[in-house]
């Protein structure tokens, strides 16, 4: 259990709060490049601040306060022009640093009014299909080039980025990443209950955990699990998969490597990215070229029309338990059990990093500007992995993830089905 004041300290992210200041040390993804390409002006809410992300008419990116300092209209309805963003109301023009460049109907031109009309502007940078922003003090740290962000599409490899606003505090989502045993219940026994009611085959995720382990390492915490029927040689135990401090889970299996990235929007909303890379076996690799014209970005549906959470994807099951705890859950009434020790380790790590940040000491994964290297992260190749050797479509199982809302993956699955059917026809006619 966590006292209410400590819970506030760990969960609140607005300007001036300890956790808000810690998050302001990191580059955070705020949108996808594809979304910004489709609409170059996008309102975003990050760490309790209402902002507008835009691509200007020279291809540069900017992130500024949403509220126009003239008479308060939203720059989120503005338009890019002259290397900046114009307010929709009276055309005041701002650059990416928040400097007011023009006040068209102010006569004569007043440099001092322009100077007083400065708004906030934050550095923005695109990498791997995502647009990242840095809301902290200058200078920004080096961008942490975690492996997947540096991958390239082609030769059987492609990326797919789902996103959703989760209506709850970010810590509820992160704590779930340190909770290995929930898989056997939420994604195993509960899922099988629902699948059974629909007359469908059960999942393989219901295996009981014999033991779990958490390794504190230089970039975060690696979690491991050993289930009934597995040995310590199994990758689930030997390799495991990490949480990159503070807010990225790496997870996947054969054919899939993904980051789940949780960006606090405010104390009760979190922007969630499912940042995925698929690697297609050689036999089907040609099919990737046929889907690359489709957008790599899609919104994820987690709730049905009546607001209740769908129980048919692993991700909507997760979202259900994140959100039903409450917008920002209390922790002074919880009853942690022995399987929650990864959560306790993470809370202690957060506590220590808050202290380090307050004392001006170095903080995990905040790299010096010159440390621009790639960071490779482990990930076991089993859980959720491809079902090999059965002759079935190896990518069909990924449709049990939020990937079913993607444009690329379902099209790939259809194409692979067709290749398999063709192959079977060929075999049949040869006989």
């Amino acid at each position: 259990m966590l006292r209410a004041d400590l819970n506030d300290r760990l969960t609140q992210v607005g300007p001036g709060t300890p956790m808000g200041e810690l998050y302001r040390r990191y580059w955070l993804p705020v949108a996808t490049e594809t979304d910004l390409h489709d609409n170059p002006v996008k309102r975003v809410r990050i760490l309790g601040e209402d902002l507008v992300l835009y691509a200007d008419d020279t291809g540069g990116l900017g992130l500024v306060s949403e509220r126009c300092p003239h008479r308060g209209a939203s720059l989120g309805y503005g338009f890019p022009e002259n290397g900046g963003l114009r307010c929709p109301y009276h055309g005041w023009l701002f650059d990416g640093e928040g400097t007011c460049l023009e006040q068209p109907n102010q006569t004569p031109d007043s440099p001092s009014l322009r100077e007083r009309s400065r708004i906030k502007g934050y550095p923005v940078r695109a990498l791997g299909g995502l647009v990242f922003a840095y809301l902290g003090e200058a200078p920004p740290p080096a961008f942490p080039r975690f492996d997947l962000f540096t991958w390239q599409e082609g030769e059987g490899k492609f990326r797919d980025i789902g996103h959703a606003v989760i209506p709850c505090n970010w810590l509820q989502i992160m704590e779930n990443s340190f909770d290995p045993t929930h898989v056997e219940w939420l994604h195993g026994r509960l899922y099988n209950y629902h699948l059974g009611r629909e007359g469908k085959e059960p999942t393989v995720l219901g295996g009981h955990h014999v033991k779990i382990a958490f390794d504190l390492v230089e970039y975060g915490i690696i979690k491991r699990r050993l289930r009934e029927g597995q040995s310590e040689e199994d990758e689930d135990w030997r390799v495991g998969h990490p949480v990159v401090f503070p807010n990225i889970l790496k997870v996947g299996g054969n054919g899939l490597a993904s980051f789940q990235i949780r960006v606090p929007m405010d104390d009760t909303h979190t922007l969630h990215f499912w940042y995925q890379w698929f690697e297609v076996p050689e036999r089907f690799a040609d099919q990737v070229d046929e889907i690359l014209h489709l957008p790599d970005t899609y919104p994820v549906t987690l709730q049905g029309p009546d607001g209740s959470f769908l129980m048919d994807t692993i991700d909507s099951q997760d979202a259900m338990v994140w959100v039903t705890q409450g917008g920002r859950t209390s922790r002074d009434d919880e009853h942690l059990s022995s399987s929650d020790q990864g959560i306790a380790m993470y809370r202690n790590l957060l506590r220590a990093q808050l202290d380090a940040n307050a004392n001006g000491e170095s903080v995990m994964n905040v790299l010096a500007p010159e440390d621009d290297y790639v960071i490779n992260l482990p990930q076991e190749q089993k859980e959720l992995g491809l079902d090999s050797g059965t002759g079935a479509n190896p990518f069909a199982s990924f449709l049990r993830l939020q990937s079913r809302y993607s444009q690329r993956l379902p099209e790939l699955v259809r194409r692979i089905d067709a290749v398999i059917a063709d192959g079977q026809d060929a075999v049949t006619s040869a006989h």
């Binding site: 033991k211 504190l216 230089e218």
Partner: protein, 71 residues
Amino acid sequence: MDRQSVDPTARTCADGHLDVGGICGLCGEWLPVATCRAGSCAWVAANGERTLQEAVDHHIATGHSIRVIVN
């Protein structure tokens, strides 16, 4: 318990209660063991709930990797 008296064989909580699957069956205190993975370092902690805090502090002080296993 004081923070110096690290006893890797401790399998009871401060009240002398019994370990039931990594948790005290009577008072609910955790009884994890944290082990340093750095070859030359013999750091181990088994101080109930404080174990995890001490693991984080040791990691920050030394950069060593630390493992906590929950059976």
